[in-house]
Symmetry: C2
Amino acid sequence: MGGDHGPHVTVPAALEFQARLPDVDMVLVGLRDALEAELAAHGAAAGPRLRVHHASEVVAMDEPPMQALRYKKDSSMRVTVNLVKSGEAHACVSAGNTGALMAISRFVLRTLAGIDRPAIASVLPNMRRTNTYVLDLGANVDCTPENLLQFGIMGAMLVSAVEHKERPSVGLLNIGVEDIKGNETVKRAADLLRSSGLNFAGNVEGDDIYKGGVDVVVCDGFVGNVALKASEGVLQMVASALREEFSRTPFTRLAALVALPVTRAFRQRMDHRRYNGASLLGLRGIVIKSHGSADVFAFGQALERAVEEVRNSVPQRIAARMAQLQVPAA
Amino acid sequence: MGGDHGPHVTVPAALEFQARLPDVDMVLVGLRDALEAELAAHGAAAGPRLRVHHASEVVAMDEPPMQALRYKKDSSMRVTVNLVKSGEAHACVSAGNTGALMAISRFVLRTLAGIDRPAIASVLPNMRRTNTYVLDLGANVDCTPENLLQFGIMGAMLVSAVEHKERPSVGLLNIGVEDIKGNETVKRAADLLRSSGLNFAGNVEGDDIYKGGVDVVVCDGFVGNVALKASEGVLQMVASALREEFSRTPFTRLAALVALPVTRAFRQRMDHRRYNGASLLGLRGIVIKSHGSADVFAFGQALERAVEEVRNSVPQRIAARMAQLQVPAA
């Protein structure tokens, strides 16, 4: 029900997804009438492989998370997370209110042993055309060194699971690569990461996110969120500048026509929709957050991410790694 | 003497600058032989309008700032800042070690009354093709709400001085625009900014830096530095992706040729060299930090920034505004 477009996006995305991956069963959770109407609008109907599960309430996009948690016990979001808890679903994918999804998931599913706080992890593109996983992207605005260590472990386990890398490299986001740089939290986090047994690559800087030198970039949620949004802002500015320059004169408009296959390939390569689907890591279950503005293609990417995490047992891997941890997790 | 290229960049940049602005007197500070050789290499010589001031030491780019401050009393950096202190120079421009420049400037010049810590402010481009001033960009990794308030005042005074705006708008970098978002420091800083008499626009997010909705974006140095570097990383990735797509096949290489005037205009527009020259604000004197990798063009931009700040009395304006401040500056 969530996101800017609700079932108008999620339902066709589910149909399209199931057409591609027919071995995945799906449950659409929300207002039955709205979901069935949307299915009918696409010439489809619910069935054993694509069930509709009624939930009478919807969490609003701007609703305070604690309010959603306390008072909307029959929201589509809560009911979906409950399905994960009970084992009826292997994963939950939502385009709804991020704070509410985090609060509900944490309350219902609980965190894994040794994990103090879940984190939001997302994939970003890089110059080597591999994936850089960054966490936390906004769930935790004040992190301890222990939190950052746990993010490193969760990120490494996510990458080892879905990218099939044995020892993913983990960098700690800082304002210089030297050990003496940064605030006290980051310096102590570096010490913890160094003795964690992870493949710790030391400090990295903001531009390293896009260089592809490390698989995982660890940071607190405030910094991660700002870095992500600033990056989006730059991309928007670049796109708008390119558009403007290409539409300046008749000649540049002709050049735009000639360059169309190139700019199209470029746009596709930079298409943020391909990276849609952030993981709420550290929970006893799989929860994927789609961007609220996701379209059918983007929401499909989030669904795929959920399936990847299920097939590769991401929470189990994190739990196993936490159990081995020598450093006490505060 | 500083930066990646030393006098090979700074000396020709000074010559080129003085050719453009002949009413600006310049003092080249550093190893006399190196400076005079570089002048001679450009068919120039020192004179009353372009003096060489000998300094026997050079601060290394990777030297610990405190070491430079304590033991290199005759470094080109220290001597230049001394010239500002004594009034022999109106401003100092350096491409050297940022930490050392900040430590020396703070020690020699002192901060203005009410300013606890200087900040590094820089101009960034935005979609409205105006300038966004962001501070702090890395001088202060742990800021109090009072520091952030002071950054807001300093940024606003800088913009009012050099952009001739009467009431520049100030945004506080946060991870959401709602008042409840962010950590405690940011929330308290918002309260201080709201009652400061500044034109406070509330919280802004990372992408707002590039939207141009506010003139000044205030943040702590850790967050600002990461946002800036992440932005640089995205731009590099975009540039490299565009290059790759344009050189993929004979057809795309032809398209590149046709689109050359467009991509050239685009590159020029996105050229970070135009924004070179960060202000060390809050000092009793004008100090401008050029990027270490600056070329002659970029270093010239930093020189221009220094002249702008001198002509518009930036430190005096900050001092005057601080004197009016009702809120006690802790």
